[in-house]
């Protein structure tokens, strides 16, 4: 779950890392007041969950509160990467002498957090690592043993930083490492970490990403930041169709029939299991099919849920037929899913034989499931038909050919 910059700043400040004077504003008037309080020149930054703010014109410099207000008005109307800003951050313009980078991410192969530090801040760290590898220092650290200041010192000093700068950077970098674990972040980054002309250090910008799975145990922090439980903070906002999918899944606690993502094709997909869904979505596209959606069934959902999902997909504008396909199931039952999708067709007044392009779910209770499909004349396949071939047949039927 991604945080807006103003939230990330609050997280950093909470951990005891100095930040520049700043304020969050939702209107031009508010921005003017914040700029007045700060006094002097400010930067107005769009608060949007998308990169490329600078390029898109979402970051503007202002010498007076009036100018800050004018910039804010424009920025609030500016869409960046498909997102509208939630507000602006008005930040004092500090006299920066030098920019550093400090960040923490997980290393999935070492299975530990890795702390990164660079004396070339202000630019994309991946770029620095590629072009100037000797300017990036890395250190894996334990999740069991509390992170110590000397570890940060050793990392920073390894790039040749010494003197006052080393002593001031050490606690900042150590606090960043500790907050990463304490708040279940998957990314905690200060970039740039600025050394000001007076020799002090401040976080000039921060990026934080929290693990979704940890949201329930980080409720205190999220509450303090004003993040609502309903905010998913995905890479793009959920569409009404996707929200309806979540409602279907929330109908009861049995199994999963959700994780719906909207696409604009004509073939509705009622597909399942995590890996099976990925495989099938690829296969449909490889055969020239145009999926109307992505979704996942698993964990043996109720007939009600399978029916709800199928109805949602069947009634999506532009959807001609649905393909009901899963990799071999061992927990989810073939007959239960068959009942659900057939029922969806019937309740909508459709002929299941016509609307279901193909049903390919082999596995648990398949004999019973196939009896249901036969009764309604639905084309079905067992495990001798591959996922790929099932997808091909579904695409052929939607495109009017003979399957």
């Amino acid at each position: 779950m991604r945080f807006f910059e103003y939230e990330s700043r609050a997280v950093v400040a909470r951990a005891g890392i100095p930040v520049t004077r700043h304020g969050f504003a939702k209107t031009a008037d508010e921005a003017r007041r914040v700029a007045e309080e700060i006094g002097g020149p400010v930067v107005v930054k769009s608060q949007v969950l998308s990169g490329g703010r600078m390029k898109a014109g979402g970051v503007q410099f202002a010498d007076s509160p009036e100018e800050a207000a004018r910039h804010t008005e424009r920025i609030l109307d500016l869409e960046i990467g498909g997102h509208m800003p939630r507000g602006v951050l008005v930040d004092s313009r500090a006299a920066v002498a030098r920019e550093y980078y400090a960040g923490v991410v997980w290393d999935g192969t070492r299975k530990r957090p890795v702390l990164l530090f660079s004396d070339m801040g202000g630019i994309d760290i991946e770029q620095v690592a590629a072009d100037h590898p000797d300017h990036v220092a890395r250190m894996h650290f334990s999740t069991r043993v509390p992170f110590q200041d000397w570890q940060a010192k050793q990392l920073v000093a390894s790039l040749g930083v010494t003197g006052t700068a080393l002593n001031r950077l050490t606690p900042i970098v150590a606090r960043l490492a500790r907050l990463f674990l304490e708040y279940d972040m998957t990314l905690a980054e200060i970039n740039p970490l600025g050394e000001l002309e007076d020799g002090s250090f401040v976080a000039l910008d921060a990026h934080m990403d929290m693990e979704n799975e940890a949201r329930s145990r980080q409720r205190a922090l999220l509450h303090e930041l004003g993040v609502g439980d309903e905010e998913t903070r995905q890479a793009r906002e959920a569409t009404p169709f996707e929200l309806a999918g979540e409602q279907v899944d929330a109908q009861d606690h049995r199994g999963v029939a959700g994780n719906v993502t909207e696409f604009d094709g004509d073939l509705g997909l009622v597909i399942g299991a995590g890996g099976g869904s990925l495989t099938l979505f690829d296969a449909v596209r490889a055969h020239g099919g145009r999926p109307a959606n992505y979704c996942e069934i698993g964990g043996n959902p109720s007939v009600l849920k399978a029916c709800g999902l199928a109805k949602l997909v069947l009634t999506k504008p532009g959807v001609d037929k649905i393909a009901v396909m899963m990799s071999i199931v061992s927990n989810t039952r073939v007959d239960i899913v068959a009942r659900g999708v057939v029922k969806a067709c019937l309740e909508l007044g459709f002929d299941p034989a016509e609307k279901i392009a193909i049903f390919r779910i082999p596995g648990a209770w398949e004999e019973e499931g196939f009896k249901i499909l036969e009764r309604y004349g639905v084309q079905y396949a067992d495990r001798s038909v591959s996922l790929n071939e099932a997808a091909r047949r579904a695409v052929a039927r939607v495109q009017g050919g003979v399957a």
Partner: protein, 301 residues
């Protein structure tokens, strides 16, 4: 032969009284020679039994009752209690922990793994279906009820490693239908951090004389495939590897999560295209379709 488990493996089920765990226990008892499930643990349920398996409050009680070390544990407790359950197993001398639970925060997984490393133990998962040695034993829900598992899995020369539990069965079934059985199939889990990666299981398969080829199922997200490619390049493995990559469409949708928790394109290196290139460069054949896998394996045996 097999890796990780065999007919003599003893294990417990932590969280045994849960709905899914009750089914899993039945399935494992019924499959092959019948798993030696020597106990179950659910705090507060001491004295009960699940399909004849005695239930204890603690792992220590189970070890006591068994009268000696227990080889493994299948952990199926809710996410908030999972780390504690795994640490309890490890501290009580269990060497192989299969973590079925999904939605465990990474910090917890990293902690479990760190302790396991210190204890010389191994974790499979989380968010996995476990391990199966065809016709001999299964540890976890992999393949489902014994009757269904027997339909998909056959003994033979292919080691299977998969980030998707369901696809472990789909691929094994395809291999079995073509007359290629499996030595051991391992569902390693779909999370961003897992106890055992492809590269970490390879030496075990390498040491198993019965295994003569490897099939892996993989997805975008993470660097596990790069790690495997590096391992292959460094170790001159005798085992030919065929990989299947799902989720190619995700390359066009960075930042969006599909399928498993660990399946998200976050950087250049974890796209499907990049992984396919890396695997291919290491001499690993990437199959376009699952039905092509048996032929590709046969060509390399």
């Amino acid at each position: 032969m097999s890796i990780l488990i065999d007919a003599d493996t003893t294990f417990i089920v932590q969280g045994i009284t849960g709905r899914e765990a009750v089914n899993l226990t039945r399935e494992c008892l019924d499959y092959g020679a019948g798993a030696r499930i020597v106990g179950g643990v659910t705090p507060g349920r001491l004295g009960r039994d699940v399909h004849g398996v005695p239930v204890f409050d603690t792992v220590a009680q189970a070890v006591d009752h068994h009268g000696g070390p227990i080889d493994g544990s299948v952990v199926t407790v809710p996410p908030a209690f999972c780390k504690d359950a795994v640490l309890e197993a490890l501290e009580n001398g269990i060497g192989l922990v299969v973590v079925v639970t999904e939605r465990i925060p990474r910090r917890d997984v990293a902690e479990m793994v760190e302790v396991a490393e210190q204890r010389g133990a191994r974790i499979i998962g989380p968010n996995c279906l476990g391990i199966i040695v065809p016709d001999v034993i299964k540890m976890g829900g992999i393949g489902g009820p014994a009757r269904d598992a027997a339909k998909a899995y056959r003994p033979g020369p292919v080691g299977v490693i998969s980030r998707s539990g369901g696809m472990t069965t789909e691929m094994s079934s395809t291999l079995s239908a073509a007359g290629l059985g499996q030595s051991t199939a391992v569902s390693i889990g779909g999370d961003a951090i897992i106890g055992s990666t492809y590269a970490e299981l390879m030496p075990l398969f390498e040491a198993d004389p019965e295994t003569r080829a490897i099939v892996i199922y993989t997805e975008p997200g993470g660097r596990m495939e790069a790690q495997l490619a590096a391992w292959v390049a460094e170790n001159h493995s005798r085992l030919p590897i065929v990989a299947f990559m799902a989720g190619r469409f995700m390359d066009e949708m960075p930042g969006m999560s599909f399928g498993h928790a660990g399946t998200i394109v976050e950087g250049r290196e974890d796209t499907a295209a990049e992984k396919i290139a890396r695997l291919t460069a290491a001499g690993i054949q990437v199959a376009e379709r699952i039905e092509d896998i048996p032929t590709l394996i046969q060509e390399r045996l």
